[in-house]
Point group: C2
Amino acid sequence: MRYILVLGAGRSSTSLIDYLLKHAPEDRYQVLVNDVDLKLAQEKIGGHALGEASAIDIRQESDRRKLISKCFLVISLLPPVLHQIIAEDCLNLHKHLLTASYLSPELQDLHQDALDKGLLFLTETGLDPGIDHMSAIKLIREIKAESGAIHSFKSYTGGLIEKKSDNNPWHYKITWNPRNVVMAGSQTARLRENGEVKFVPHSHLFREAHQVDLGHLGLFEMYPNRDSISYANIYDIDLVPTIIRGTLRHPGFCKAWAGLVSLGLTDDQLVVDTSQFGSYRDLLQAFLPGDHTSLAEKIAKRILMVEPQVIEQIKWLFDETPLPAENMSVAKLTEHLIIEKWVLQPQDQDLVVMHHEVEYHVGKTCIKRTSSMSMTGQNSRKTAMANLVGLPLGICARLLCHDKLLLRGVHLPVHQEIYLPTLQELQIFGVKFTETKSAL
Amino acid sequence: MRYILVLGAGRSSTSLIDYLLKHAPEDRYQVLVNDVDLKLAQEKIGGHALGEASAIDIRQESDRRKLISKCFLVISLLPPVLHQIIAEDCLNLHKHLLTASYLSPELQDLHQDALDKGLLFLTETGLDPGIDHMSAIKLIREIKAESGAIHSFKSYTGGLIEKKSDNNPWHYKITWNPRNVVMAGSQTARLRENGEVKFVPHSHLFREAHQVDLGHLGLFEMYPNRDSISYANIYDIDLVPTIIRGTLRHPGFCKAWAGLVSLGLTDDQLVVDTSQFGSYRDLLQAFLPGDHTSLAEKIAKRILMVEPQVIEQIKWLFDETPLPAENMSVAKLTEHLIIEKWVLQPQDQDLVVMHHEVEYHVGKTCIKRTSSMSMTGQNSRKTAMANLVGLPLGICARLLCHDKLLLRGVHLPVHQEIYLPTLQELQIFGVKFTETKSAL
């Protein structure tokens, strides 16, 4: 019997492992789950007869190779920095590799080698990146098939919290990597607007978040991703004058986060001697001017915003919670804080929203098409996020098992033979895109 | 006859080389000047009989070692990244080393080795760092000698332009490393105010620059240096409740620079495809919102400042100057621009201002002492900056020649045997500190 190896048994792996195990008997494979935490790996397998847990240290070359050589396919949910060594092993040991992480230039460099060896290294096959690519490309190709000339492409995704589980003033809880939440917007964003390249520096990214009305999905705030233009070529919309890819938040999040950025509380370079501060509130005070005014006035002065709601959000977050004992960067300290204050409670339900909006013309008719999807999680273990990151990986793994995915080399899921069956099967899990089409 | 080796014949070396050559006959040494640009090295020597120019590539180990082995003392004005390999050579070849750069932890690690071999590695012996340390320490020790208990230490230095040579709306020209001008304030500053640690994030550093009135020296703007507290121990003022070290600019500079920072134009991570933009004005446009308003309104919206003067300064700087052909970071592009627009004309005179301000009490009497110095350059070659960076190095080199500097190991110029004779001889060159003392 063949083995599928899942590396990492963290939050995002739940749905993937469940899905793989469910189909293991019919597809005749076993699922091997490796994590530094053996109990976590065992827990995810839940005693399934075709599941096996291990806790091999992935940084130990010989152990790692032994593990990889057992399987015919590796699905890595490990931190992106580890993907290159795993990819090199997969190349040497003749194994396919699937990940939900961004394609790195180093991995791209392995394309010819993977092709020569008859292997598929499929990356960016989770939610965002992943389902966003698949559904956007599908929409774009449909429009091109009806001879539409696209002049605007906008695509937004948000990993959010369901209204009934939303009980903090930030309207946000952690459903994915908290490090990414803190570092989001630490770099200048690049997008294209009416034919012009536009840069939005990190100090303005959240401050200038747009309100977007997604109809029945509701009202959200959107800030642009780091580089919207980098996908223009992959989506085959190189010359489209407006290209914006963005992240969604519930209204009220972005301005307050802009405040934290402005205060310097997302700085990853400044290492703080935590012994000097009793609590996060003390740390906040150190980032404020020494004026003899109220805390609220000092915050308002520094963030150049006077909205009471924003001040309250910052005060709510930076409260009397004690600092970790270890010295670390301010960004790391803020990460520790949000992990604690924005924790998903066991019965909390998360929400994922995705929306594409394409404007084009056919002849003299201007048309707008939208394609939107939302999914609510069951609880803190079975999140919509884990579903949407894990299921596309699982579906693609099974396509490989069934020899229905014959593409080889290093790829993103922008090929029909990947995205059509994947989006199709995702519908069974409630991932349904609602489409609208209207004349402009 | 002995050799003194000067590495680097750039802007800061002029006064140093002149000084060393002037004293060469009496002190019986020769001055060897090495630079990648042979003509520049020859020009700085000006045909002096005891001068010798060379153009050895310092990155070639064997050539570098041959060069260093000829001399008994190395003065390095090279970029700081090169100091460690030169220090290692000096250690192996038994040579003293003087630099005007910040002491790195790696160089500090060579202390015991230098001590064992009877060598002096003296760093931070230019202007700032350099003369600022020497004059501050002298003042602090004098106050301690009169049993003064210090409660506030402030120290400011500025490399500026003389009023009569000031003909641009920024009131600034380049007299030192332009890269440092652009990157100044790219990190959060740390200082101590009334017993509390305060952090000032880079987005506010220039925006919140204080006006400081330095009496007869005039009115300036001051922004805090990166880490004011790191010198508390060296200055022996560990427990002093207020410690601020800062940089001076002419009034009107800081707010406009805050504008550039806010616009994202000092971002060193974002690499720009310069072929997409015709001029610096086009680049500026890309960093502004796409609204259908005037350039001034768009700038004001992004920088959250409405002062017409600030807008004018930004427009003046980011004009129709063409961009370099090479792709580079925005910070590098801005560096190229200021090198061109803030160039020192041949007859321009620069200005250096230094000011220390110490508050303390003796018994129940509160006292304030200040110590200030300013120097005007002759022209763009003989700048005050070059004088003040080069002369302390030259003076210390001669103290070593005369066996009057017996300290060994890795040091800063905070020892009496260095700062007393150095400050003494600097007076001959017009470096005179004016002191005031008043009851508070």
